[in-house]
C-alpha cells in the first residue's frame, strides 16, 4: 500500500517521515532512501518501506515540494492509496498551502477523499504567529469529514497519530471495498 506525504515546500514532509523512521518503534522499517540536493531539500522523493502486522507493507513516499518539481510530484502520486497532506501553519505560506492542495485535487480528481483517503497535518503548531486551525481549514476548504491533526514535526508531536490515522483509513478501505 502506497502512502504519500504531500504539501508545500519546506512544510515538514521529510522531517515528519524522518521522525517516524527514527523514533517510532513497533513498525518494521527498511532503508530510508532520499533523492535530495546538497542542502537536503528533496529533489524527487524520500522513500521508506514500513511493515505493520508482518504481512502488510506500506511504501511511504514524500514529494518534492518546490513548485518547479510539479511533474515529479505527479509521478510519485501514481498508484497512491493514501495521502498525508502536510500544511504549513506559517502565515507566509498561505498561498503555498492553497496552491499545493489545489494541485493535489487536480492530480487526483474525484478520487481524493473517496477512493484515496486523506489525512491533514497542520504542521509547525509551535510557531508564535501560526494561523489558527479554523483559518487553515477555511483556507484549504476542508469540512468536518477529513481527519485533521495539529503537529510539530521537528519534535514528532502528533506525527505518529497522523500516520496511524492514514494507515488505518487505507487498511479499512481495503477491507471494506
Amino acid at each position: 500500500m502506497k502512502l504519500v506525504f504531500y504539501g508545500p515546500s519546506l512544510g515538514g514532509k521529510t522531517t515528519a517521515l524522518r521522525w517516524l523512521y527514527g523514533k517510532v518503534e513497533g513498525l518494521q522499517k527498511g532503508e530510508f532512501t532520499a533523492i535530495e540536493d546538497e542542502t537536503n531539500r528533496t529533489l524527487f522523493f524520500d522513500y521508506v518501506p514500513m511493515s505493520a502486522g508482518g504481512r502488510v507493507l506500506f511504501d511511504v513516499f514524500t514529494v518534492a515540494g518546490q513548485k518547479r518539481h510539479r511533474h515529479q510530484r505527479k509521478v510519485v502520486l501514481q498508484g497512491t492509496d493514501g495521502i498525508l497532506f502536510v500544511a504549513d501553519s506559517s502565515p507566509d505560506q498561505r498561498d503555498e498551502n492553497t496552491e499545493s492542495f489545489e494541485e493535489l485535487k487536480l492530480f487526483l480528481g474525484d478520487a481524493l477523499g473517496r477512493e484515496i483517503p486523506i489525512v491533514v497535518m497542520l504542521n509547525k503548531r509551535d510557531l508564535p504567529n501560526r494561523m489558527s486551525r479554523d483559518e487553515m481549514l477555511d483556507l484549504l476548504g476542508l469540512g468536518g469529514n477529513v481527519p485533521i491533526y495539529e503537529t510539530i514535526a521537528v519534535q514528532g508531536v502528533g506525527v505518529k497519530r497522523a500516520f496511524q490515522a492514514i494507515a488505518r483509513e487505507v487498511i479499512l478501505k481495503r477491507m471494506y471495498k
Binding site: 502506497k2 502486522g53 508482518g54 511533474h71 488505518r168
Partner: protein, 154 residues
C-alpha cells in the same frame, strides 16, 4: 492464466545475455518491485529501493517527453564510472538492467526491447487475472486486521 514464474524466467534469460549484467529488475509504474534476478546471490542492494527509483526516473523522463512532445520513451540509460543502469518500457511495467561499465550496449538494448514485449504480455495477463500486486494479493482479512491491531500498539 498467468504464471508468476514466467517473470523470473524472462529476467533470467536477460541476465544470461551478457556477462556484464549484474541485476535485472521488473517494477510497475507505481514503484513496486514485481520480480528480480541477480547474477550473484550476495549482490548487496536494496532491491525495493532500486526499483522505486528506477520506476520514478523512467516515469519522470516519460513526462519530460510528453511535455516536449517528442514521442514515446523507449529506454533511459544512466552511465556511471563503474556501471550502467538501463530502464525500458514494457507495457505497464519498467524493465531495469544494472550492469558493469564495460558491456555491449547495443546487445543490451536489443535484448531489453525483445524481452520487453514478452514481459508486457505477461504483465497484461498477470494484471488481468489479479489486479493487486503479488504481495498484496496474498493479503486476507486476517492480515489486515492484524495490521490494524499492530498499528494501535505502535
Amino acid at each position: 492464466m498467468s504464471d508468476p514464474k514466467a517473470f523470473d524466467k524472462i529476467l533470467t534469460e536477460i541476465i544470461r545475455q551478457d556477462k556484464g549484467i549484474k541485476k535485472v529488475i521488473l517494477v510497475d509504474k507505481t514503484g513496486l518491485t514485481i520480480a528480480n534476478v541477480s547474477k550473484l546471490s550476495y549482490y548487496p542492494v536494496d532491491v525495493d529501493s532500486i526499483g522505486a527509483i528506477a520506476s520514478a526516473v523512467f516515469c519522470a523522463s516519460e513526462e519530460q517527453g510528453k511535455n516536449l512532445q517528442i514521442g514515446e520513451l523507449e529506454i533511459v540509460t544512466s552511465e556511471f564510472s563503474e556501471g550502467k543502469i538501463f530502464a525500458s518500457a514494457c507495457g505497464k511495467g519498467v524493465l531495469c538492467v544494472v550492469s558493469e561499465a564495460e558491456v555491449n550496449i547495443g546487445l543490451i538494448r536489443l535484448v531489453m526491447k525483445k524481452q520487453g514485449v514478452q514481459l508486457a504480455d505477461e504483465l497484461d495477463k498477470f494484471l488481468a487475472v489479479e489486479p493487486l500486486s503479488p504481495k498484496e494479493s496474498e493479503l486476507d482479512e486476517e492480515d489486515l486486521k492484524s495490521a490494524l491491531a499492530e498499528l494501535e500498539r505502535v
